[in-house]
């Protein structure tokens, strides 16, 4: 059992925090939670409806599946169709639409695509099938980077030459800067993603809070965590402060996890990255280092796919920058549903559209919205 899970879901504590937030708020504030896991917890537990109407929660880009570009998805599909390739992926990448097909459609067409829980399992598969090339589709934020890096380090150490990764890694702080630097930005405070900070620590956020005069609260994922994070943010905003605070201290130390950061730095180097719905954000992703080029699927397979147009019917970019809510999309629940998504946020377990579709009855769309 998760330690303290019961306490962090305690209805009485939830009520106390909600009351305290109501007491403190005097003005409208817009808060963005970074992580899709936080979005799902908020919406599933009905927290947005308990808060004062003047607290506007908008949902950030911290859904790795959602921000993986169509081009990278096309690369994964292309790789899966190569002879003697086993493409391994986390499960919720499979239904995300590419420019021509999804991985699920590629698999139906005969490609060997396997859903794994951990990249370390892909290294095992590579050892079992020395005649095949095993590629792991390495999507994720900083939280997933240590495991993906470790898979490469293990493969190198074991001499597993038929293993490589397709890196689509993205980073939180550059995305926060891109959002805050946008002239349309409305965000007053951030709830930073607790598990990202378990790895990376808090140091990167001090210059951002200072430069944009925006409070950043490192926040966890349970109802009490989220309400405490919101309370800490509101308290700062009401008195005009903009500090970095740590709500999630049971898992986050200021310096992060040193060993995990070293493993990341061993394998990855920071580079530019295309974010689905948002565009290129400079220095916002991890690519495999030159020293490990033998494990970089892009180089190993000489991939050079074109950059493709994204589906303009999907407004995920506006949603992930906090400019719109899922239910403000004309296609939400009608043309875009989990069975036939226009974009990734409707099918990812961390996507904000999926959160509203599955859990929220407040924001019913006209017509054929199905309440789950």
């Amino acid at each position: 059992m998760m330690k303290f899970l019961h306490e962090y879901r305690d209805p009485q504590l939830v009520r106390q925090y909600v009351e305290e937030i109501h007491r403190l708020v005097t003005r409208p504030w817009t808060l963005m939670e970074i992580c899709g896991g936080q979005t799902h917890s908020l919406v599933r537990n009905g927290l947005p409806d308990m808060l004062p109407a003047s607290i506007n929660l908008v949902h950030g880009p911290g859904c790795p599946v959602c921000v993986t570009s169509v081009r990278v998805l096309d690369e994964a599909v292309w790789l899966a169709h190569q002879p003697d390739v086993i493409l391994c992926s986390f499960g919720d990448m499979l239904r995300v639409p590419g420019s021509r097909e999804s991985l699920l459609q590629a698999r139906a067409g005969g490609a060997d695509i396997r859903i794994l829980y951990s990249p370390l399992e892909a290294v095992e598969i590579a050892r079992q099938y020395p005649g095949k090339e095993v590629v792991f589709f390495a999507v994720g934020f900083e939280t997933t980077a240590p495991a993906n890096a470790l898979s490469v380090i293990q493969a190198a150490r074991l001499g597993v030459g038929n293993y490589s990764i397709l890196s689509s890694h993205v980073l939180v702080p550059p995305a926060m800067e891109a959002i805050l630097g946008d002239p349309e930005n409305t965000i007053d405070a951030f709830l930073a993603a607790g598990h990202v900070c378990t790895i990376m620590g808090m140091e990167e956020y001090y210059p951002i809070a200072e430069k944009y005069k925006t409070p950043v609260i490192v926040t966890g994922f349970e109802p009490v965590d989220l309400l405490q994070g919101i309370l800490m943010a509101v308290r700062q905003l009401e008195i005009g402060e903009y500090k970095v605070e740590n709500q999630y201290a049971r898992y986050v130390q200021r310096e992060g996890n040193r060993l995990a950061k070293e493993a990341i730095a061993e394998v990855f180097v920071v580079g530019d990255r295309i974010w689905r719905g948002i565009g290129v954000i400079p220095q916002s992703g991890y690519e495999v280092r030159e020293e490990y080029r033998a494990f970089n699927a892009r180089l190993k397979f000489n991939m050079d796919l074109p950059v493709v147009e994204e589906n303009r019917e999907c407004i995920s970019g506006d949603i992930m920058r906090g400019l719109k809510k899922p239910f403000q999309c004309p296609n939400f629940g009608t043309h875009c549903r989990p069975e036939h998504p226009l974009g990734a946020p409707m099918v990812s377990s961390e996507g904000s559209c999926a959160a509203y579709y599955h859990y929220s009855s407040t924001y019913k769309n006209e017509g054929d919205f199905i309440e789950r």
């Binding site: 495991a147 986050v252 060993l259 493993a263 061993e266």
Partner: protein, 69 residues
């Protein structure tokens, strides 16, 4: 860098045991709680800090109000 890249431990997820890589939490010991992401333990829970959340409102000076609820 993690020294023992292949260090494994059995972690109970609500009663279901899974092998988890412990290379990044070298001081994790039997009976302790770890945070696991995609098969790799990335942190240990700090129990003292966990209890702090419950004291947070009290530290804000809300003790009387809370007691009356």
């Amino acid at each position: 860098m993690p020294e023992d890249l292949f260090r494994l431990g059995k972690v109970s997820f609500g009663g279901i045991l899974r092998d988890v890589n412990l290379s990044m939490v070298p001081d994790a010991a039997v009976g302790e709680y770890v945070l696991v992401h995609v098969g790799v333990a990335i942190g240990k829970v700090d129990e003292d800090e966990a209890k702090m959340t419950f004291d947070f409102l009290r530290r804000m000076g809300e003790v009387e109000e809370l007691n009356s609820i």
